[in-house]
């Protein structure tokens, strides 16, 4: 491996696929075929490491693997597979992973055809100028219709399918052909191995032994062990301790040169210091400019995370410290709620990111949490001229002291089949969007651009969009600007007491409708208790709506004999376990869903 590598023999590629279309299985087959994965390691889906990733079938962190492949032309090639995260919340990370590649395999299920989730990544790959070639997977299934799906790929995506590979990752069909296609279609990297270093960071994580480890792709020059390097965005300098590549198991090397993909450890303490998209250069002989496309990512969505049982507060804090080490986009700071006690206000890239973090905290750290409704940062200018950032609706200053409230707007870019144009536009308008453009890529596909309040998007916009377009729309968005809005705080009162954790900020003209809908939704969510529960929505002292959850009047088991005792006890135990998942607010038990009721209304 220490041999000088000829960059014309390197191929850096990524795999773009719809969930379930077989990306992980194909990755594993490629690894096996090239001998990268021994029998002992042939655990299904090697590339998705986290338990959560395996379960959701979604990659959250980027993974890489170097494969050595001797092609039909007799030459040995170094193929670097760069697996990308798979969700709109991580679109920036995806774009950085893709830009580390020269080509991408587009996997399409030979019976299901082109599906929507692939598209966002595919368009990113096309925008970045990657060479794309299709692989039709699952051709062994009786329902496979490769010819129809090929046509679909040509019509919808405008890709040439004349040399598409027919494969079945499961059966090991078409694996060699896929490898040959990678060699043939993915262009080799270019760049001067002796020039000033220019390496792209596309992922980083915290390692208990080495500190922060960054994944890089070298575009120019060579990075060597012991070399002093500089991160251009932060200006921080480090000395390289360790260099290596994933085969996919870590393998240490002395240098990484043009076109190579590998990892770098340099006694870096925090993931925060390593920004995805940043350029690493030599401290001694720096390059004149960084690679394009770098952005500082900021959390866009905020919500409160509270332990259901207050004794878990310290554990939650420790767990967050650990998660933060690995996830610079996740932020937290302590906050206190009258209703929920001590907890944290956390920042996330989006709703999906929020769900992932909550699930990891619960699963990996054994915590039981309540998450409050997601919100954005509002800029509030007070009458006295002070400007405050409000990321928790309950901390909105009193109405009389507010001069204006501004909320963040985004530019949303939606790719959809043109037949859904009307539906998408209606949805965007309903979400307070202003149309910025409609561009037909083909007669079948359209790109719709809207300027919209971020708050509308963090709620349930994405889910609705997918439902409306039968999953065929893709969404990408970026922060645009802050704009003034007529906004008010909507409070929810439970048995006459405002519950701070349930407050939300809404457009004034929608407040009455929202208030009614939320109260009605909460009535469905809150289970009947031994007393009446009254739910009210209010703005200030003005009550907008009122719903009543009637008191439970009877819950008694009629028969309980010898044969029933175990069964009855188990039923009661189950019922009790359910109650432990609820937060006691005053004397009322509120399930997690009650705090997210706002997500479930129009």
């Amino acid at each position: 491996m220490a041999k000088k590598i000829d960059s014309s023999k390197i191929r850096n590629f990524s795999i773009v696929a719809h969930i379930d279309h077989g990306k992980s299985t194909l990755s594993d087959r490629l690894l096996e075929y090239t001998g990268a994965l021994g029998d002992r390691e042939k655990k299904d889906q090697f590339m998705d490491k986290m338990e959560l990733e395996q379960e959701r079938g979604v990659t959250i962190k980027a993974q890489t693997a170097r494969l050595n492949y001797t092609a039909d032309d007799g030459e040995t090639y170094m193929l670097n597979l760069i697996d990308t995260p798979g969700h709109v919340d991580f679109s920036y990370e995806v774009s950085r992973s893709l830009s580390a590649c020269e080509g991408a395999l587009l996997i399409v299920d030979a019976s299901q055809g082109v599906e929507a989730q692939t598209l966002a990544h595919l368009y990113t790959a096309l925008d970045l100028g990657l060479e794309i070639f299709p692989v039709l997977n699952k051709v062994d299934l009786p329902s496979a219709e490769p010819e129809r799906v090929k046509e679909e790929i040509e019509d919808i995506l405008g890709l040439d399918t004349s040399e598409a590979v027919l494969a079945s990752a499961k059966q090991g069909i078409g694996i060699k052909e896929t490898l040959e296609a990678i060699v043939k279609f993915v262009p080799p990297p270019t760049g001067d191995p002796d020039g000033p270093l220019k390496a792209l960071i596309f992922d980083s994580w915290y390692d208990a032994y080495r500190g922060v480890v960054v994944q890089v792709r070298v575009f120019e020059g060579t990075i060597k062990k012991g070399m002093k390097i500089r991160f251009m965005a932060t200006g921080m300098e480090y000395e390289v301790d360790v260099l290596g590549v994933f085969l996919p198991n870590p393998f240490y090397v002395d240098s990484l040169s043009v076109g190579e993909v590998g990892f770098v450890a340099a006694s870096i303490k925090e993931v925060r210091e390593t920004n995805v998209g940043d350029t690493i250069t030599g401290a001694e002989n720096p390059t004149d400019g960084p690679l394009e496309g770098y952005k500082q990512v900021h959390p866009m969505v905020f919500s409160g995370l509270y332990p259901i049982d207050s004794v878990q507060y310290e554990n939650l804090k420790e767990a967050m410290v650990k998660l933060r080490l690995n996830d610079s986009a996740f932020t937290y700071e302590p906050e206190t709620s009258l209703a929920l006690g001590f907890g944290f206000r956390c920042g996330f890239l989006g709703l999906f990111h929020m769900e992932i973090i909550q699930e990891r905290l619960e699963r990996e750290y054994g915590l039981s949490l309540i998450t409050t409704a997601p919100t954005v940062i509002y800029k509030v200018t007070k009458v006295n001229g002070d400007v405050v950032d409000v990321e928790n609706p309950s901390t909105l200053p009193p109405v009389q002291s507010i001069a204006k409230i501004e909320e963040p707007y985004i530019i949303a870019t939606i790719h959809a089949p043109s037949q859904y144009l009307g539906a998408v536009m209606t949805l965007c308008e309903a979400k307070r969007g202003t149309q910025k453009g409609i561009d037909y890529i083909t007669t079948e596909r359209v790109v719709i651009t809207y300027e919209m309040p971020l708050n509308e998007v963090v709620m349930d916009f994405f889910d609705r969009l997918k439902t409306l377009t039968k999953g065929y729309a893709s969404l990408d968005y970026e922060f645009h600007d802050y704009k003034e809005g007529k906004l008010v705080k909507l409070d929810i009162l439970i048995n006459g007491e405002a519950v701070d954790a349930l407050s939300i900020i809404v457009p004034k003209d929608k407040a009455v409708f929202k208030g009614r809908e939320i109260a009605a939704k909460m009535k469905e969510i809150i289970h009947r208790q031994m007393f009446e529960v009254i739910i009210q929505a209010a703005i200030g002292t003005k009550i907008l709506s009122r719903e009543t959850v009637r008191a439970l009047r009877k819950n008694v088991t009629a028969k309980c004999y010898g044969g029933d005792i175990t069964r009855k006890r188990k039923l009661l135990e189950k019922q009790k376990a359910g109650k432990r998942r609820m937060k006691q607010v005053g004397k009322v038990e509120l399930p997690q869903d009650a705090f997210l009721a706002v997500l479930k209304v129009d």
Binding site: L552, V556, G562, I565, R580
Partner: protein, 401 residues
């Protein structure tokens, strides 16, 4: 009462007769209808199982059987002489006395006077009649094969034959029936004058025809307020007629409580024989350790044919078992204790489990500190050293324990 004597173990014996003439649409008990039930083979299997269990549990002839209960299914369909054989087997292997309560469940449509006479001769001294209602429309809704007249007839036959301990089961909350219709049944039952009355609110069990009818909307249960009224009225009327309300659904003349069922509710040992029957043997103090064994519960395979096959092959009929943990014993003691109107003996509870009942309820998150939840509506109270539920507490008992 019920103070166990040293060096003498007492048990209750349950024998399950798993077949009926017709399956009732609300019933989820293990029972089949139709076909030729192999009574003889089943009887032999029950005898064999009894021998086996006694051996496994090291229960010798000194073990006293306080109650024998033939439940079902429909035990009154079973050939009386076979019931006799089973009682004799129990008598030969265990100690019985004139005091031993021997109950048999009968259905009005299958109990004949001759049969009952025979059963009495074999030692059956208590009958439990599946009367369910004395209103023909209700009986029809419930899918029962008998009429109100047959039901009163069966009761009177039993009385004539000299059965002095008769219980009847009735069902409240029958769909499309009114509170006053149920009150009529209650009054007629009181007039019949049984020693024991069980009143069960109709419960929809999974996978029964009634559950399917509920799902498709063709069966509508009374609303909660009506069910409350039925429950409270039942207590009122039966207490007025001098029945003691001794368990949520059970009423008895003084000292005529079902001894067999009271054993279930008091954590006593019992052995269940036959398809789907459950057994429970309390823990014994373990030698050389401070750990305690809190007992075992096991249950047999549900299918009677499987049961017979297993017994004939001399293999185990046990489907599954559970070792009871301390927490489970406590949960059960609270649940079963509070279901009885005499409640839980707080001192005995504390001695057995360390910690008071209230503390355990708080610890389980069922009561908040100082028992606030239950005090919301005055659901639970303590008097004379016993913790009991109020009537309101009974109505909401699943929320308390």
């Amino acid at each position: 009462m019920n103070v166990p004597r040293l060096n003498s173990k007492t048990i209750g014996l349950y024998l399950h007769i798993p077949y009926c003439r017709k399956k009732c649409p609300y019933c989820s008990f293990a029972s089949t209808a139709g076909g030729l039930f192999p009574e003889k083979e089943y009887t032999e299997s029950l005898k064999l199982e009894l021998e086996k269990v006694l051996k496994n549990e090291r229960l010798d002839k000194d073990t006293k059987v306080e109650s024998i209960y033939f439940g079902g299914g429909t035990p009154s369909l079973f050939t009386p002489s076979l019931i006799g054989e089973l009682i004799d087997t129990a008598r030969s292997l265990l100690t019985t006395s004139a005091e031993t309560e021997i109950t048999l469940e009968i259905n009005p449509d299958s109990a004949t006077k001759e049969g009952l006479r025979e059963l009495k001769g074999y030692g059956v001294n208590r009958l439990s009649i599946g009367l369910q209602s004395l209103n023909n429309q209700e009986l029809k809704t419930l899918g029962r094969l008998h009429t109100a007249d047959q039901a009163t007839g069966a009761f009177k036959d039993a009385r004539d034959l000299g059965f002095t301990n008769i219980g009847v089961d009735i069902i409240s909350g029958v769909p499309q029936s009114s509170v006053s219709e149920f009150a009529e049944t209650l009054d007629k039952v009181i007039e019949l004058g049984p020693e024991h009355i069980s009143v069960y609110g109709l419960t929809i069990e999974d996978k029964t025809p009634f559950a399917r009818a509920m799902d498709n909307g063709s069966l509508i249960l009374p609303d909660e307020e009506t069910e409350r009224e039925l429950f409270l009225m039942t207590i009122e009327r039966l207490e007025a007629a001098d029945f003691e309300h001794y368990e949520i659904s059970n009423f008895a003349r003084p000292s005529r409580q079902s001894r067999h069922n009271t054993r279930y509710w008091s954590g006593g040992d019992y052995i269940g024989l036959g398809a789907s029957a459950h057994s429970f043997i309390k823990g014994r103090a373990l030698e050389n350790t401070t750990d305690r064994d809190f007992g075992r519960r096991w249950w047999n395979v549900t299918d009677a044919a499987d049961y017979i096959r297993l017994m004939e092959a001399n293999s185990s009929s046990i489907s599954d078992e559970e070792r009871i943990t301390k927490q489970q014993v406590i949960s059960e003691a609270i649940m079963l204790g509070l279901r009885q109107t005499r409640g839980i003996d707080e001192r005995a509870f504390k001695e057995a489990f360390q910690g008071s009942v209230q503390e355990h309820l708080v610890q389980k998150g069922l009561l908040n500190e100082a028992g606030n939840l239950a005090s919301v509506k005055n659901l639970i109270y303590s008097s004379n050293g016993r913790l009991r539920l109020t009537k309101e507490g009974m109505l909401l008992s699943n929320e308390i324990y």
